[in-house]
Subunit: 233 residues, 2 copies
DNA sequence: CGACCGTTTGAGATCCTTCAATACCAGTGG
DNA sequence: CCACTGGTATTGAAGGATCTCAAACGGTCG
């Protein structure tokens, strides 16, 4: 239902160096692009839901998604906010284990399961690359376990802001592309606690906010300390 | 400092079908065994610490480990209790991101980084297998995120008991091989809360305990409900 | 038997949540 | 231009789940 053909015959330049391909040969990268197709979702739309059969692997080209799991009564845990360059649906087989929704308008590159499997057999480096990517995600998830299990609300928020900043390559300013609700469901906090914590950080002159979705770090030292950067452990 | 030579020249039968090898050819499995060496640790000993250079990959042959991360002030989050068949140190490069300690006496099989890398190049199926294993661990970690971020103490404990039971292949009895302290640090709870929660489950006739480290499920239905098994979502 | 270590229980404090009201902001229609 | 509306964010007050501190209990091992 997408523009496969158009894409394949005239891939856009930014597709040419997709993250999956990085580190693989030129020819090989071409083969990957050949099986891919673009897909777009508007803000709020669902890409796939927890429990759906995983019929493909996706790479985010543009925009940000929200991945989450639900408890029967509706409590939600967001497990990630993948943006450009991230892969999802990496479970090699079976059903998706989380729901993926567009946080902003997004463009994705889709690799159908079957073709992808074939490529895995043909291209020696690919599986290894996917292993590396998945291992990285695992490491990230384990950091998040520490955050959810053992950090206080203030530490959680500080960690989150630093994380966003790193992701945006910004040293002392952050845009927050998600709502307080999303932040809360990512950090294991209520929306009110997120809000109050930000207020407290403002009052303590650790951050400033020019808008509800824009934070400036005033006291880097303190932010690092609260985030409990691994290096100082 | 271990019995490498003895092992390599006379691998014990149970080593022959290690988990890494599963699904790989007979010949290929032999090659893997060839680069491996056995290592033993006694209860309480440290296999490697967070921050140590990852010089190898380990597979648990016998016993159980405790993997954890620390905050600067000593707060601890246990990220897993790998037992026979599990792989660790799967980060393809760099430093270990958690500490690994022996929960019980353990036997491990070690694959040195360098030799392992060589094998990865030579054996097409291996990287893919490692990808699958790592993806599985990731899925598990994400379930744990939901637990830590959104479940109540009672739900956490119930989930934990069911998880242990599944692991032990037992339908309605569980041995708890770790202390309350370990349980707490795994579930993001204090040791007292773990204890009180178990007491409440006992009083509610949902479980019974013949010893501090042995639980019997009395009301399966209720345990499942509390654990919030994914399927009912 | 006594010491030790882990577990349980109790009481009080704390952090975070819940419920409720208010504030803010962008978009819409009068 | 401004009031109105809907959605999100902030703030307040009260309650509750979990934590901390402290003491008692229980099993194990010399």
């Amino acid at each position: 239902m997408q523009l496969h053909v158009a894409v394949v015959s005239a891939p856009r330049p930014d597709i040419a160096n997709l993250a999956v391909c990085r580190g693989l040969g030129q020819k090989v990268a071409g083969q990957i692009v050949a099986i891919s197709s673009l897909r777009k979702k508007r803000r709020g739309e669902t890409l796939f839901a927890e429990g759906d059969m995983a019929d493909g692997i996706y790479e985010v080209v543009h925009g940000t998604l929200r991945l989450y799991k639900l408890l029967p009564d509706g409590r939600r845990q967001i497990v990630g906010f993948p943006s450009a360059g991230h892969l999802l649906g990496l479970a090699p087989e079976g059903a998706h284990v989380y729901t993926a929704e567009a946080l902003t308008d997004v463009t994705l590159c889709r690799y159908p399961r079957a073709s992808f499997d074939r490529l895995l057999d043909e291209m020696p480096g690919l599986a290894r690359r996917l292993w590396a990517v998945t291992a990285d995600e695992l490491r990230f998830a384990q950091d998040q376990l520490l955050l959810l299990g053992r950090k206080t609300a203030t530490e959680k928020v500080a960690t989150f802001l630093r994380m966003l900043a790193d992701q945006q390559g910004s040293e002392d300013e952050v845009d927050i592309p998600m709502t307080r609700n999303d932040m809360g469901d990512y950090l294991g906090l209520s929306i009110e606690t997120v809000s109050r914590t930000l207020t407290r950080l403002k009052r303590a002159k650790i951050i400033a906010m020019s808008a509800v979705d824009h934070v400036v770090f005033l006291n880097h030292r303190q932010v690092e300390l609260l985030a409990g950067s691994q290096r100082n452990a």
